[in-house]
Symmetry: C2
């Protein structure tokens, strides 16, 4: 049932442990699922909530979300997208207007049936996404070609009452996202915007979260319910050998326009139907970041999104001038903050330096600065990188420029390391046997495919098992050469394209 508490009690157990000593119980390579839950909680990103599948996003998470939001919001405003806010609720009648769409979402819809003590006459749905909430009004607002393009976006919560295994960030019953909904006079304009938005999603993953993604098109089976075609950025989690859909930019074509009668008079005075897109990314982005970069010491945050980029820790010794060390720590933080870095000092007197090292490593702060008597004497600080443990002494006079360079290097090397790991998982195959072998080896499989829906269904059916079925992840825009006569790995028919396959989240 909805309120089963297995996640919670699990998390509670860990929480108690955390208070007695620092460090993770689980290893990333050995018990990935348990490690992930533990690091989300111990790194103070998430708190488990007493309704299963709902999570508390703690300040450490929200700061990252706000950074991504500030970037994306500014970019879409440049594209002249305007923010709106549509209601959380939608009537059954409207929700069901696009048949394929509702079939895709119906099993997950949460229904409000009661207010106070009164039963409602008609149950009201909580939005799982807002196509059907918004488009009746698009029909009203759009009359002539001068009303186009109409480009709206909202930042909001949505609810999908899923029953499969809930996972913080990755699969939760309520999550935060942005959803863009745009309407154009022509398909060309719609097509172009789909890719512009997809590029912003790539930048969120690659430039901010330091996670390599593959841009491509979803198969017919995997595309958005009711849409025309779906593009996505796909990430990969080497530890589990699973792909993960990072964000999607859909061209809805004219399907919704037909159902919701979104027509306009074009420049020639003729009645025409709009072309629509919708596109979204969610707090799932943050879960992918935790999965990709985290290690057995805890979170590893890319400097660009970390709410604390540098943590300064005093290392006083028995006979040392503690006050002078504390002062040096404070002035180091001041210098860094003034230079635009997000730096903090941990002056708590009830924890040892060693405990603090572990604590901030758990929280994934990219760079630690230690200041002890020797550093003070030598007018230097000791810096330690979270990602690879590298240590360096930096003269105080070049603090700002060196910290800048180190943080920039960390950002880059996180991305490179993640890319290298992912590349090592890619397996190009040609036959069914190779496919199965690669699947069992947790590979990201690139295979020649005939692009037939029934064949994908067949692959799904044949690979069903305790780890879940294999499916297409995407057909990458960046296509390797497909030699003439290449056959589909699954059907033996002529292959039309290279497509990524694998298990997925």
């Amino acid at each position: 049932m909805a309120t089963s508490n297995t996640d919670t009690s699990n998390a509670r157990k860990k929480e108690v442990k955390k208070e007695t000593r620092l460090g993770l119980t689980y290893k990333k390579d050995k018990d990935f699922g348990e490690w992930y839950s533990e690091v989300c909680v111990a790194g103070e990103m998430i708190e488990y909530y007493d309704i299963s599948g709902c999570y508390i996003l703690r300040p450490w998470t929200m700061a990252i979300w706000e950074t991504l939001q500030a970037f994306f919001d500014a970019e879409i405003k440049k594209m002249n997208v305007k923010n709106v806010y549509f209601p959380l609720f939608v009537t059954e009648n409207v929700l069901q207007k696009e048949k394929d769409h509702i079939e895709g979402f119906a099993p997950e819809v949460a229904w409000v049936t009661k207010s106070g003590q009164s039963e409602m006459e008609i149950p009201i749905a909580i939005r799982p996404t807002s196509e059907t909430v918004m488009y009746p009004y698009y029909s009203k607002w759009i009359r002539g070609h001068r009303d186009l393009p109409l480009k709206l976006n909202q930042w909001c919560n949505v609810v999908r009452w899923e029953f499969s295994h809930p996972t913080p960030f990755i699969r939760s019953r309520e999550f935060l996202w942005q959803e863009g909904h745009t309407a154009f006079a022509t398909q060309d304009e719609a097509d172009q915007e789909v890719l512009e938005i997809l590029e912003l999603y790539r930048r969120i993953y690659e430039e901010f979260l330091a996670i390599p993604v593959i841009k491509g098109k979803k198969s017919e089976l995997e595309k958005f319910a009711g849409g025309f075609y779906t593009t996505s950025v796909e990430a990969f989690i080497p530890n589990t050998g699973r792909g993960i859909q990072g964000a999607t930019s859909h061209c809805l074509g004219q399907n919704f326009a037909k159902m919701f009668e979104i027509n306009f008079e074009n420049e020639k005075g003729e009645k025409a139907m709009v072309w629509q897109n919708s596109w979204a990314y969610s707090t799932r982005t943050i879960g992918v970041m935790v999965m990709v970069h985290g290690d057995d010491k805890g979170l590893v945050l890319p400097p660009k999104v970390a709410s604390v980029q540098v943590i300064v820790i005093p290392v006083p010794y028995k006979d040392a001038d503690t006050q002078a060390i504390f002062d040096a720590c404070r002035s180091t933080v001041d210098t860094l903050c003034k230079a635009g870095f997000r730096a903090e000092v941990d002056l708590r007197d009830n924890y040892s330096p060693g405990w603090k090292y572990s604590h901030w490593e758990m929280k994934g702060v990219p760079l630690r600065i230690e200041i002890g008597p020797k550093d003070l004497a030598n007018k230097q600080v000791r810096v330690v990188c979270r990602d690879n443990g590298a240590k360096m002494d930096i003269p105080m006079h070049s603090l700002v420029e060196q910290v800048k360079e180190i943080l920039s290097n960390i950002q880059e090397s996180l991305f490179n390391a993640a890319k290298q790991k992912r590349e090592a998982c890619v397996k190009v195959i040609n036959t069914w046997d190779e496919f199965i072998a690669a699947l069992n080896n947790k590979k990201l499989i690139l295979a020649p495919w005939c692009d037939e829906e029934d064949v994908e269904k067949d692959v799904k059916a044949r690979t069903k098992g305790e780890h879940g079925a294999a499916k297409t992840l995407c057909t990458p825009f960046d296509q390797p050469r497909l030699p003439e006569g290449t056959l589909c790995f699954a059907s033996g028919k002529p292959a039309k394209k290279w497509t990524y396959w694998g298990r997925s989240y």
Copy 2:
């Protein structure tokens, strides 16, 4: 029932009219309620939605909301408040933990009882506010005095399924707000923060929305359900003679701490209970702005929050050089935007200048710039102020400095005009007869009061009628002198303080 459509069809009728000619059907002074609904829709702030009491916040609204949000969010971050996101849902069990609190909210709670086709075992409530959602976790996170203060805030939607007359922004079943929830070791710290936040709310109203507000304390009857004391900023709508609670900053005392067991070990090693505050402002702020400043031509937006501060309109004549006029308009907008103003040009060729004047007046843009052949020849522009219709010719070379001054004057004079109107409504009374006369005259009544809960209940009962009962709005912090021997206007007992009374939203 929930989905009755009277609001919507009403709004639809107006929408059709709007397309044939501009201008409002209703007058602010004559039919205030109808005028308000009409101006919200025609000014493109709101669209009525097909679920009664839910409204679509259009881009014109969201831009204002984002400006207020940017201000407040930056200010509370300076106070070291961190943003979080707690779930939308809460179990019945937790919701009911604080008895007075739940009594205040129970009739308005929306319940989710079904997901997909399945009945849930336990119905789940949608947050009407998040005290009970959050505080079980405060109990978990707060252990020692070093965990205090804990200062969290979230930007989110909440749902209160009210059945009284829904009104855009002012009384809606879902609305956007921020809710801050803080915990302190001492009452002193809590008391101090209550006022710091209240001052930010005053600034939102007075500095941004140009609306005068009164800071004060709510009566026992009107305070937050389950709280210790409530402070608020109160605005007043002269047309209806109603007070309107602008935002509230509550000290919760230790009531919730007791129920949710939020204890900590203090510096002496003793067990103690935290002191808590909660504080919120919502999209209601924007409704108050519409009510206070709007006129019979439409919205009037204060420059500080208007998403378009200056609209530039070309005024071509038959024989004039249209291209040169258009170019001058574009370069005027460029100059203003580069100087940091939010300026736009309306170059649409299918509307006359006169239509455009009315259109942008309806949308409340503070300043209009007209450029015609004569202006071009004289190297000047014609500016027209939205608030008072004042017209001026400005030489192009002093454009930026003069626009800056004019916008600043508009901001100030909107506030002064609103303050003057409000002051004209204040009526100081001493007796019950004066009270009733003032109430019938739609006054904001300042009366000496004995501060007894039963007396307020009695006043409510005695003034019940079609316009709603009178109640206390607040006891202003700024107290006039209370001469010894002054008696309560309602009970005849010795008065303890001056308190504002009136009908309210």
